[in-house]
């Protein structure tokens, strides 16, 4: 009887399991990767990269919560810095390419292809 009670209390009281968050971040990473692989629009490819970075950030925050450590959150802070820099430079490159080629389709950008 106490065991059953404990089980029910446990089910109610326990916080959200770690694996739920991991599944969510995995799905978001998967969707982002799908965008990078299948889309032709360079802008959307850049957005998909942001999605993948965010999925990694979720993992950092979740593990920082479950390991009782602040390091994951510090790392997310730096990832955000890098993502902001990447977005700024990437968008500048896209504007530059659009001026030269007049398109954002990634099939057209074959200047460095062997």
């Amino acid at each position: 009887m106490p065991y059953i009670l404990c089980f029910t209390v446990n089910r109610f009281m326990s916080p959200i399991p770690l694996s739920y968050y991991l599944v969510v971040s995995t799905l978001i990473f998967f969707i982002g990767m799908l965008g990078v692989l299948t889309r032709r629009n360079v802008l959307i490819i850049l957005m998909s990269i942001e999605l993948m970075l965010n999925a990694a950030n979720i993992n950092f925050i979740v593990f920082s919560y479950y390991l009782n450590s602040l390091r994951g959150q510090i790392f997310v802070f730096f990832v955000m810095t890098v993502a902001a820099a990447e977005a700024a430079v990437g968008l500048a490159v896209i504007v530059y390419l659009f001026r030269n080629k007049n398109t954002v389709n990634d099939d057209e950008f074959s200047l460095m292809r062997w």
């Binding site: 446990n10 009281m13 694996s19 991991l22 978001i28 999605l51 802070f77 810095t81 977005a87 430079v89």
Partner: protein, 212 residues
Amino acid sequence: MSQKNERILSYLLKSIKYPGKQQITSCLSRRDTSVKKYASFKHEEKDLTAFLIFSTLAILGALLTVTARNPIYSVLFLAMTFLQISGLYALLQAEFIAIVQIAVYAGAIMVLFLFVVMFLDVKEIATEKNFHPIAPVCLILALVLLGEFLVFIFYKPSREGGLSETVTAVGQIYGTAENIGRTLFSQYLLPFEVASILLLMAIVGAVVLAKR
């Protein structure tokens, strides 16, 4: 009735360890036990509901971002995804990161994207073919990787090991601005300064590229 409940709970606490222990003991030590207990039960349920809402909307927004024809819709759905993810951070007691997520991602980066999408000619983009011809192959490869990730999450090498569904914890660390700031300016001061150099280089690079 409440005394009986209290006795059962204290018995449980003595006999078996479980993650919510601290919360219940803190509730028991206060005066109005039954109300507090009930409140804490409701709190956990609310947490799970919020998690389900945030995660569902985040995944939905990500899917719509990738599949939308018009890049403007894509940007807006991406902003929605970022807001939901910031909600997930708030659930995990990372308050500072949640606010920074809204300010930097949903604010700055999304405005930048929106600006560029509007700056370029959208009509020409929207009528083109959206996906690569080899998209099904990519889908299969990505599905394989997804399966691998899920195996990694749910695989249990032994009875105790592995990240099973039962791994839970009560977070004791709050990612407030004070805590983050203390850590950032003492232990991680050098990376912080290096990040400023990185941002400077990004500014210079963006200006140089845009001015050509």
